[in-house]
Subunit: 281 residues, 2 copies
């Protein structure tokens, strides 16, 4: 069951208009959230990011924040996911429009929410490769979770073809940016280093929470410009996203990261993040 524009529907009966600009031009946004036994930690932050992205694209929110939040819980309930671990995906497109690139003057946006049961993979260490596809830091889209996700799809395919779990994308300047669907954090000499937003990375919710946790724990956390060679000097490396939480990277391009297993700081941050997510509303 999914939520579409105010109604809970069977996916087989739910209909996206073939003139929807989300389908025709990727003209829209999404959020992916983790639901844990009926709770959606950091939901407010996801709605903040959705609102900010919608403002960049000029898409009006078709419902109030409360109604959008409520839709997420309705979908979880309709799919009997109230006591499971689930992914909630919220999609907002500009809705149908006439032919061409120019948006309609009075858009009727499409709002879709779906939920799927997931298994926890955060504890499963990832092997990554540096992708040949570059993140475009010269586009406003690099900091918006837009429906233009095909670069990420191709980067993940490349990683899988090369026997890895994840792809790390550099930006067009050749510096480290992010993974196909996660932010990247390196650990060096007890400090966290993560590419800054100006490097072309999405302002990840988990990334932001992690930086807050690090500050609370007295762990230095810095946004930095990281050359590819920074992975060689890293003691630990990790991925963050809302579904994974914090996932260790143990190998990059066939070479071990640090000692080749989840590092002590990664484990400590995983525990602190789990606690923070448990407390969050």
């Amino acid at each position: 069951m999914l939520y579409l524009d105010g109604r809970i529907l069977d996916p087989g009966r739910a209909r996206i208009d073939p003139r929807d600009r989300g389908f025709l031009l990727g003209d829209g946004l999404f959020e992916t959230m983790r639901a844990d036994r009926g709770r959606v930690p950091f939901l407010d932050r996801h709605l903040d990011r959705l609102e900010a992205g919608a403002a960049v694209l000029g898409i009006p929110l078709p419902r109030s924040r409360d109604a959008i939040a409520e839709a997420c819980f309705e979908v979880l309930h309709a799919n009997q996911l109230g006591d499971r671990l689930a992914a909630v995906r919220l999609t907002l497109s500009r809705g149908p429009g006439p032919r061409g690139l120019a948006p309609p003057a009075d858009p009727v946006p499409t709002l879709l929410v779906a939920a799927t049961v997931i298994t926890d993979v955060a504890s499963c260490p990832a092997r990554a490769v540096i992708s040949s596809i570059r993140r475009n830091e010269h586009s406003p889209l690099c900091r918006v979770k837009s429906l233009n996700y095909l670069d990420n799809v191709l980067a993940l395919r490349e990683a899988r073809d090369r026997g890895a779990d994840e792809a790390i994308l550099r930006n067009t300047a050749g510096r480290l940016a992010c993974a196909s669907a996660a932010n990247l954090v390196l650990v060096r000499d007890g400090a966290l280093l993560t590419p800054g937003l100006e490097e072309g990375v999405l302002p990840g919710i988990t990334r932001a929470v992690l930086v807050e946790i690090a500050r609370d724990l007295g762990i230095p956390a810095e946004q930095a410009r990281l050359p590819t060679s920074a992975v060689k000097g890293a003691d630990e490396a990790l991925l963050t996203n809302s579904l994974l939480g914090i996932r260790p990277i143990v190998q990059i391009d066939g070479e071990r990261v640090g000692k080749g297993g989840p590092g002590p700081l990664t484990r400590r941050l995983q525990r602190a993040y789990a606690e923070r997510a448990h407390q969050a509303d």
Copy 2:
């Protein structure tokens, strides 16, 4: 009326599945073709490009080339556009898939064809601005007509906000690439200069036909690396795409191009292109 997966339907009854990866991730391709009184010039070249793009993305064509071509004519007929000027848009997505970026092993692609009446704007000179958004030449998508078209949408919006008709995008190296939905060609000292494919531009059908025409007419035509300053030294500038054909640019960033009107070579090429399109199958 439109064509969707083998059937001619009323748009109000046609349904894209909300799990379609075209909608969720921009995972697909499109072609826009000009139909002139029931004929679709260069249709074969559009289908070639569709096939090439589908191979890059790993999307199988769900119908034969002949059936796809036939669908275009069926849509024109169903909309009584057989004696009009029309835009035919063909959209191919990877179809529905499970949650996440990884494509399904056995995709069932979605094939949509729509047609709309258009008016001829090729003779209407365009004012352009250089966009702040850059074309990513470090992604395979820059040479594929994918559904990830939001950069182009934002670039066009920027151009309109600045009182212009079109946006010219540079690549991330800062050199000229293309317009929001057209290729860019400069004329200097009687020769055509157009950014090469490696500069991050789509292999435009009209661009290719124009280069062939130039060769037949003994006009030098060169693929080049063009700095932004090249527009200042240009005698003429023009846009090419399948709907426009060849459209003169008379102003860039508020400054006149050449003498500020459609140039003699542009006019000559427009006539030759119209003839070629008239003869093409």
